[in-house]
Amino acid sequence: MDVNIKLFLPEIFITLFAFVIIGIDLVMPKGSERKHLARLGIIGSLAAINVLIINSGVTGTTLFGLFIQDGVSIFFKVLFLLTGIVILYMAMLYEEKVKNFKGEFYALILFAVLAMMFMASSNDFISLYVSLEFLAVTLYILACYTKEESASVEAGLKYLITGALASGFLLYGITYLYGATGSTEFTSISRILTGKEMSGFLAIGLILVVTGLTFKIASIPFHVWAPDVYQGAPTPVTALLAAGSKAAGFVILMRVMFTALGSIKPQWVLFISVISASTLLLGNLAAMPQKNIKRMLAYAGIGSAGYLLMGIAAGSVLGSGSVMFYLLAYLFAISGTFLAIVIFYNSEGSDSIDAYAGLSRRSPLLAATLFIGLLSLAGVPPLGGFIAKLYLIAAVVKEGLMWLAVVGVLMAIAAMYYFLLVIKRVYLLPPKVNLPIKIGTVDTALLYSINIATLILGIYPGPFTDWVMEIAKVLFRGN
């Protein structure tokens, strides 16, 4: 076997940087500031993006077909590395808030990014399962990292129990798919299934695999962990769960549903559509009465998973391209919002929505970031989130799933309501204290660039949508 090392050079980079961070952390004096380690991680991620772009022409499979590098995996790896950079920066701001802070927090974030990169490249149920569990175990540790806070450890434990239950379902489903086809590699499963009738093993496997994967994307039936974990986990980790883990869940869902099971698409469209519609209803309706902003964003994230599942249910190039565009817009909206939440928490020590009253008079930039970020999540023109939702709805309409499109449109209106409740507090209510909130220079630059990115995706989406549609074709090459 010849191994083409160029295919997984970025992964090697990230692994090296993560271990170097752990190594330096060991020799640093106890209690000293560790922000340079985060900077090192950011440099490593930038280097990995560079390597990815230089080698973007090098595609193919390696390691006995376990690992694939194609347009989709390159797109998602860049997305994950960008997420990683923002999260590392957020963690740097969070450092003072944690007692006995250790540099391994930064290394764990890099490991989580690494796991997501492997998920984007999985081409076999074995590598899918192992990389998925790698991400899960890393996130269990990260979620309960502030172990002095009882909410954080409680969140970690709940995340672990539901996560392990879901991966049990996933694995049981994989077993039956393996039993039905005799293979675990996606392209050969697709080849074996072409022109085959639906069998009992196949149906059981399909239902269990999809059920298991709903945990990662936080949709029904495995959505129960999201509110508690989003609320209890340290805020940078919540942002990682919201932007990174969800995108990683969708890349493997796309690979399984389109590449491996694409040839039996008529059998699973209804199943996915029902999950999508019920997730949309639950997420958006349950977000309304929430008092904590992280908990509200958790329910909004469940709602987003419902939208993204519409793209999976469409099962077309248009559908998967719009999933990718949605995740891109979602990354910027989520990272801006969470950066604002971290800065606000550092200054005020509170995550409750009521504490945001009068923010526009205390810090116009934070208020504007929340305004743009939340309205992009709600899907208001001319922001990135609007274009993304439009494409997803267009994709399901094109496949004839009118009822799903109707649910999507109605729930977009519901989403507007709870996001506008926050914006009303930020802009219209008077502040309790009138002190301005201090924001550093780098924070300001980062907030500005994230907001501009969201605006560009909304005002001039043409090149980006063309790009993702071109990439999405790769997924359907097998059929």
Binding site: I141, T175, T184
Partner: protein, 100 residues
Amino acid sequence: MITLSHYLILSLILFSIGIAGVLLRRNIIIVLMSLELMFNSINISLAAFSHFLQSMTGRIFVVFTITVAAAEVAVGLAILVAVYRQRKTVYIEELDEMKH
């Protein structure tokens, strides 16, 4: 003569016991044990499929599953210790701080 279905039924029974344990038991240590039971029931069906399909992949998969499940439960026990130090409890219904 023991056929594939015998193994699959055994695996299904163990898997159901595992799920029932996770969902119904109050003690988190027993919940973790039930998770372990679920993973082992899956290993039985993987190995059975591997034997009856005459394919090596399933057996390789079992090795990965065992390793990953062990890592997962090890982290679970560590988190449980952290929970116990704070709350002095291992009962799942007492962990409801964030409902309000």
